[in-house]
């Protein structure tokens, strides 16, 4: 083995990788050297982090979370962080053939030699890619088979709020914001190494389990009742917490990361830089896991945002800045921010954009302002539900009249392309709810043609299957079957195409219901689902977020065979409605949300009752702030952006 020939730890695999790169697709994604990438000498630091985004480079590179942690860790004098991404099958095959292991793109060091492997799970469909990376790295798949020479595998990201399905494969999961906890983990690892690794790997994990926000699954035992539900989750050591709470970073202005955003040579899914203008959301959309687990709202100030935009543009050369958050138009200073940023970058061909926004006429005004200097591409709204009734169920209330009026205003203001996001398969949904999407789209085009005086306008309806997520009021809901989703998408398509004169201005983008079912299994799964994931990977499954690699058949076969051992099946995990007092696999992981409040909100959903936003209508006792010792941080600050000397042209 080459490991024996290696002179020292941290040596580059590049000389052995390079001949393979000439034989694969898009080799540039494996060579690193991105603008603002960092390489630190291996022996200068005590703690080595490999950070992985478990998807292709083009998807993983723009990920903000990973970029932030990369910079935060590299700023520490005692740590270094390098990045690694999922390797496409063409290169993975050559690596196995030539004995080249999973490497980081920064210095091409073997992942196997790092102290920690941090993996950010934005979606559960990345689980098989973790297994593939571990195997390519030469790290035992199962956490219990690793010794102290192997990296500690740490899961993070939103999916880590229920890491039970991957609990066999990860050593720890981190709940909540990562900026501070990665420092705490680094301290623990540094001290343990400095002391000569007392107690080996188990002692290290025990120490990590006492870091706020770190969950070590092996110290918790799960027992099951005769009906297959969880009887109890019990800790197996009394020096670990009974429940693990999430981490929350307060005062975002103190964490202006990424300061030096990475700019790849390769094409990526986001050809722009992003600035997070606030974190958390209290709109209370009941389907939205992000909005539930990231509370409370913490705004960056207008001046903090202004300096991040300025520094980021100078460091990257990007020509577009996305103002990122879960609901960007809700920033308390957004109107002023949009105007002053647009003033500042007047005449520089710098575009500013918001992610999809709520349906609100004010958002058209905002978009007009933001697109003053850049390209006016399209506007995206997210009504999510097709009918007013279903929008009350999901607590994203907007009347049909307001919706049509808002979109019409966009057309009247010169936007020719409007995209509308919807979900299908929501709790209590009927065919009629989904068919209303077609009515809405037709009405929007009719009114839009009239308002703009042009037939050259388009409306794209983008629709995805709803997947119930942990830590949301819908965590108890029955997921719609793939057949139900596919049926509703079919009748929707027919309804949109019923009148070709209107229908040709409407685009429909959708995915079939199958991947959603698997995402549902992985989202609300327990430890028993780990066997399904491992089986699918052994059968060749990976890149499950890519339709050309995803195999529904492979998943259903594996689920049927592996779950039968427990007397369970796929439907038990997906289309089964949970009862109020069922122990959910993630109950011992604390997002701060009070389970009783979540249940009441679920009941309110069924009776179509809305709930307000605590920023404006007062606290409704979701539980987060008192449990976590946090508070809402919003403006307005009363400050304003000073004009900069604009980029000359």
């Amino acid at each position: 083995m080459t490991a024996d020939l290696r002179a020292s730890a941290g040596d580059s695999l590049y000389p052995r990788l390079e001949p393979l790169l000439a034989q694969v697709q898009k080799p540039i994604q494996y060579v690193g050297g991105e603008l603002n990438a960092q390489v630190k000498p291996w022996d200068d630091v005590a703690v080595h982090w490999a950070l992985m985004y478990p998807d292709a480079y083009e998807v993983g590179l723009p990920n903000q979370g990973l970029m932030i942690l990369y910079e935060v860790l590299n700023e520490r004098p005692d740590a270094l962080a390098e990045r690694t991404y999922a390797v496409w099958p063409d290169l993975a095959g050559l690596m196995r053939e030539h004995g080249v292991t999973q490497f980081t793109v920064d210095a091409h060091r073997p992942v196997r030699e790092f102290d920690l492997l941090g993996v950010s799970f934005a979606t559960e469909l990345g689980y098989t890619n973790l297994l593939e990376a571990l195997d390519l790295a030469g790290v035992p798949l199962h956490a219990v088979d690793r010794d102290e020479s192997h990296p500690v595998v740490v899961a993070g990201g939103h999916a880590a709020f229920n890491p039970e399905p991957v609990s066999d494969f990860v050593d720890c999961a981190v709940l909540g914001d990562g900026e501070q906890v990665v420092g705490d983990i680094t301290d623990v690892v540094a001290a343990w190494k400095d002391q000569g690794r007392p107690g080996g790997r188990v002692e290290l994990l025990a120490r990590l389990s006492r870091v706020d926000g770190v969950y070590v699954p092996r110290f918790y035992a799960v027992s099951y009742a005769a009906d297959g539900t969880i009887a109890e989750v019990r800790r197996t050591r009394d020096d670990v917490p009974a429940r693990v709470g999430k981490r929350t970073v307060m005062d975002l202005d103190e964490w202006p990361y990424p300061k030096q955003p990475l700019v790849p040579l390769a094409e990526s899914v986001h050809e722009r830089m992003s600035v997070e203008i606030f974190r958390g959301c209290t709109r209370g959309c009941r389907f939205c896991q992000a909005g539930m687990i990231t509370r409370p709202v913490r705004e960056r100030t207008i001046t903090g945002i202004g300096s991040m935009v300025d520094a980021g543009l100078k460091a990257t050369g990007y020509e577009e800045v996305g103002l990122l958050s879960l609901s960007s138009a809700d920033h308390s200073e957004i109107g002023q921010l949009a105007k002053e940023l647009a003033d500042r970058y007047e005449g520089t061909n710098t575009g500013l954009s918001l992610p999809s926004t709520r349906v609100d006429a004010f958002n058209v005004t905002l978009a007009n302002e933001l697109s003053r200097n850049g390209r006016r591409s399209g506007l995206t709204f997210a009504p999510e539900g097709g009918s007013e009734r279903i929008r009350r169920v999901i607590n994203k209330t907007v009347s049909k009249e307001d919706l049509v009026r808002t979109v019409t205003t966009a057309y009247a203001n010169g936007w020719r392309q409007v995209k509308l996001y919807f979900m299908c398969g929501l709790p209590t949904e009927t065919d009629e709810d989904v068919l209303e999407i077609a009515e809405l789209a037709v009405e929007v085009i009719r009114a839009g043609r009239e308002a703009s005086g042009s037939k050259d306008i388009r409306c794209t309806v983008s629709i995805g299957g709803f997947v119930p997520k942990p830590h949301t009021p819908f965590q108890w809901a029955a997921q719609a079957s793939a057949e139900t989703i596919d049926h509703r998408l079919r009748i929707l398509r027919e309804a949109i195409n019923a009148d070709r004169r209107i229908g040709r201005s409407i685009g429909l983008r959708y995915h079939d219901g199958k991947p959603g079912v698997i995402e549902g299994l992985l989202s609300r799964g327990d430890r028993r689902v780990g066997r399904v994931i491992e089986r699918v990977w052994r059968d060749g499954g990976h890149f499950d977020g890519w339709s050309e690699h995803f195999s529904f058949q492979r998943w259903t076969t594996a689920a049927a065979e592996e779950l039968a051992t427990f007397g369970l099946d796929l439907d038990w995990y997906t289309t089964r409605e949970r009862t109020e007092h069922e122990v959910l696999p993630w109950d011992h992981l604390d997002s701060g949300l009070d389970k009783e409040w979540l249940w009441d909100d679920w009941q309110d959903a069924i009776s179509e009752d809305e709930v307000g936003d605590c920023r404006w209508t007062g606290c409704y006792d979701c539980g987060v702030c008192p449990t976590m010792g946090t508070d809402i941080q919003i403006g307005p600050t009363g400050r304003s952006l000073l004009p900069l000397t604009p980029v000359s042209r």
Binding site: I28, V31, A266, E267, G317, V647, S648
Partner: protein
């Protein structure tokens, strides 16, 4: 009727610069699209006053030409930019070079002289150096001789519309073999025809005529790109601009 954006048209191009840059080290794996993105961002970081096209989607005025294939290194890539304000070419070169990742190095920048013809017309041939580790130099020489003795050597080439047979022999002006540090090296001057015959097409041709199959991937470097001169060598494509600019000593170019 075509819609036009409100407001004044963008400022016109007042100066054209022609630049030579490299693709070295790991960045040989960059494609021409990767390089275009990197150059455009670097121009913004370097605050080069680019001229923009008019319309709803203004684009900076940049022309790329004759990009080396993905995987091939290059010492001689060229592009041309249009500026909305006059700049010192050397300052633009230095600022741009500083804004690009190591491996994409801007070596030269000259002002395009009006009337001196287009840069693209001066790029019709490449001198390639192809390192062939593990290949015996005598075997390589014999293969090259066999190849040069042919009238036509067809190789299958993947194009946008499927596979197409291309004559690799017609494109090759000269080919020689050298040895450096024990490694056999093929030096070959290739005419840039359509479709272009690339180093891997030359290697495919050697495989076809002489059954030459290198045990390790070949490493190609474009050493020079330019117009094929009478002696069969590749001329400096920026030469005519350099001559003309030195005549007017850095003053705004005159026709």
């Amino acid at each position: 009727m075509a819609r036009t954006p409100d407001g004044p048209p963008p400022p016109p191009t007042v100066q054209k610069l022609r630049l030579r840059y490299t693709k070295r080290g790991p960045l040989r794996f960059a494609s021409h699209r990767d390089l275009a993105r990197a150059l455009e961002r670097a121009l913004r970081r370097a605050q080069v006053p680019m001229a923009f096209s008019a319309g709803f989607s203004p684009h900076p005025k940049i022309s790329y030409m004759g990009a080396a294939p993905t995987g091939a290194a290059s010492e001689a890539e060229y592009f041309e930019i249009g500026l909305s304000a006059r700049c010192d070419p050397e300052q633009v070169r230095a600022a741009l070079d500083a804004s690009l990742p190591p491996g994409i190095d801007v070596l030269e920048c000259v002002e395009a002289v009006e009337g001196s013809g287009s840069l693209a017309d001066r790029l019709n041939a490449t001198r390639w150096r192809i390192d062939l580790p593990g290949v015996d130099a005598d075997e390589l020489s014999a293969a090259v001789q066999t190849f040069l003795a042919q009238e036509v050597v067809l190789v299958a080439k993947r194009t946008k519309n499927g596979t197409k047979d291309v004559d690799a022999r017609e494109a090759v002006v000269s080919a020689a073999v050298a040895v450096e540090a024990g490694c056999a090296i093929l030096l070959v001057v290739v005419r840039q025809l359509t479709p272009t015959v690339r180093p891997d097409d030359v290697m495919a041709a050697l495989a076809a005529v002489a059954d030459l199959h290198p045990p390790l991937p070949a490493r190609a470097v474009r050493e020079a790109q330019g117009r094929l001169d009478d002696s069969g060598d590749v001329a400096d494509p920026l030469g005519p601009d350099r001559v003309a600019s030195s005549r007017c000593q850095g003053e705004p170019a005159q026709v």
